[in-house]
Symmetry: C2
Subunit: 414 residues, 2 copies
């Protein structure tokens, strides 16, 4: 029978074997006292199995509060635990409760992080995955052979639909591929969702009629299920191609329902991610996280960016991009959304480390605050990526391309 | 204009005022470079406001990775930040993205936890809250003046519907008020959801016909939205009174959709909670967390238990119970579900510290593994609570009540 495997990074004051068995018991057929119904037959079929334990190091201080070590030692290890698909079937929330449920509360652990998930082939057959993904988003925006260049409407909140549409017009004329609402804005007192869609799609459709290029705008429809479905239809009827959801705020079932409509590309925003990931020994790592959202059908997912303004390391960003570009068994990938403090200078290191242009590369201030205006900002980003792919250094690209040179002068000193 | 206030516990190597302003800027109209549209008028209406900063202590080591302190000092403080309701309206996911979004990734913080949320009166007018809550659950189970006594089907997974129904029959005859699926079980290979509902409700309905008492069974319907709605109808048609959802796994929008049906009591399981809460300076505290789920309409929510088998302190459990019993502006409360390693001995300390019987008190092994069988187990729990409310000590209750005395002998040595 097919099995799902969770790979964890753990810390425990107990013997590793014992701690791993507690996890497997708590997350399947065991409880704190023996109960009559727990037969050998039942255990053979439904008990979680500890597959592998690799001791990594032993430390003197616990990472997070839990049981106190009598010897003063806390053991860190990679462990792998597997469950039969018979336990939960093709049910993502129950899969999550199995892989990421009560186990974080077990006192025997002083650290526990879900690092990756191995899914059987049938799982990614059952879940179709993204409807658009990388190729679909390229087709919708008419962009090949370079990253999609995107931006976020700033200020995040407070502009009227008309002001936003004016900005969208400027950005469309500047040659932008993608624009998104900020996650803080869905419907504010001076920008109702419908009015914003109307005003923006009027501009985008007119631009597409004139140029043949339709800018992809990710409208943030995050809300209750019924409202999200109404808003989805509204975007579709207005000629839009994309909707944004805040993954953690809406949750897995709501996001899946939206993705299942399969007519708009779904931009998955991971705000709140730091809460799940920032501690090295608590929560979940991105390789595991992104798999769940890909099964739900998200087409684009945020990965932060090289030399970002947040706390995350470049190594972690690179691992995240690689995870998105690794196909599931159903052959699907997901478009990594690179953002946070990006202005083009990071294109060189991003390309050097990932060797891909299958990215949605987002810059906010890097476009809007460009010395030559937004057109200069968009052109500079295209130049930066062309330079990076052609093997130029940042300095060589700056001396080749005047708009990018102006980016370097304005933003390069940071 | 009404405002929502988030109360945070933070740690930062920067000046507290500066760090708080970064949070307020990131979570409303600011970004990392000045942008043209950020007018004074816009800021006055939509910018988040730092309302209060209370320095608590200064430490030498950061709690979680972030910016390095040049002075070697990291300042801990309580801060309060407020947003106008005009920013997000009555939209729970966007409220969450505002209160718990990118702010966890800000490098200027080396610790950040959302401790509580203050909501304006109109918020709890708009959101009706739980349909049943404490009074409704008491009516559905015919229990007054003592905690509802509940149990979890164990083994968590692997029993057939017939075996489960057999156990439910035993428990119903033993006088149990409430039974729940484990969060690991929704539909397994040998226990389809519908077959389980059929088998169990046959027993529960027959028992109700005979005795007038309907045991409340929380069927775990956690799944995709459409499946949850189908299962909800299935429970309702079978005469059930309750459904269980795994809050974190299903997510806010999916849970709200289920609660909005308002015909079954909704049992909110918080598995995965440790990931959000276990670090003292990362994530969210229960007083904030439970408010969001109460707005969504959950009737019952897990709070762990005194002297539990998990890592959580008794102080934290007591705070959680108090939070559930504090009415929102709309007058609603939510029934706290006490569980984890409970056998009745903890009734005394639980009552001493909370002075309430408005609880769903869950015991697993404490009932099933009782020396006198499940009937003894249920009776012993009722005795423990009667003793606690009457002001007896555990020892006095044990010498008064023979079934509880047997609990003490079997479980009291732990």
């Amino acid at each position: 029978m097919e099995r799902v495997t969770g790979k964890y990074y753990i810390e425990t004051p107990y013997k590793l074997e014992k701690a791993a068995q507690v996890l497997a018991g708590e997350q399947s057929s065991g409880t704190f006292v023996a109960v009559p119904g727990e037969t050998e037959e039942l255990k053979a079929r439904f008990a979680a199995r500890v597959e592998k334990i690799t001791h990594l190091e032993t430390v003197k201080e616990p990472a997070i509060p839990g049981a106190t070590s009598k010897t003063g030692e806390y053991h860190r290890a990679s462990i792998e635990v597997s469950w039969s698909v018979e336990n939960f079937g093709y049910n993502l929330p129950v899969l999550v409760s199995t892989l990421q449920g009560n186990l974080y509360e077990i006192t025997q652990f002083t650290g526990l992080k879900l690092m990756d998930i191995e899914l059987p082939a049938s799982y990614s057959e059952h879940f179709k995955g993204p409807q658009f993904g990388i190729e679909g988003c390229r087709q919708l925006t008419s962009v090949q052979d370079r990253p999609l260049i995107g931006t976020i409407i700033k200020p995040s909140i407070g502009m009227t639909p008309e002001q936003t549409a004016e900005l969208v017009k400027t950005l469309a004329e500047a040659g932008i591929d993608f624009i998104k609402d900020d996650e803080l804005l869905s419907a504010s007192a001076n920008s109702s969702f419908e009015d914003r869609v109307d005003a923006i799609m009027r501009v985008i459709n007119a631009h597409a009629d004139k140029t043949g290029k339709k800018v992809m705008y990710a409208f943030n429809l995050s809300d209750e299920v019924d409202s999200m479905l109404r808003r989805y239809e509204y975007i579709l009827n207005a000629g839009g191609t994309c909707a944004m959801v805040s993954l953690n705020s809406v949750g897995l079932s709501g996001v899946k329902k939206i993705c299942d409509q399969r007519e708009l590309a779904i931009h998955g925003h991971r705000n709140g991610w730091g809460m799940l990931n920032r501690h090295p020994l608590l929560g979940i790592e991105f390789p595991a996280y992104q798999k769940l959202w890909r099964l739900a059908g998200v087409d684009q997912i945020h990965v932060n960016g090289i030399q970002n303004k947040f706390w995350e390391s470049d190594d972690s960003v690179v691992r995240s991009i690689e995870a998105c570009l690794t196909p599931l068994d159903n052959g699907t990938t997901v478009l990594p959304v690179v953002s946070s403090g990006q202005w083009g200078g990071q294109a060189f290191e991003t390309y050097r480390r990932t060797q891909t242009t299958d990215l949605l590369y987002m810059a906010g201030g890097g476009i809007m605050a460009h010395p030559d205006g937004p057109t200069g900002g968009v052109v500079a980003l295209q130049q930066a990526w062309k330079g990076a792919v052609d093997g130029l250094t940042l300095e060589q690209a700056a001396s080749t391309y005047p708009e990018f040179n102006n980016s370097v002068k304005k933003f390069g000193g940071k």
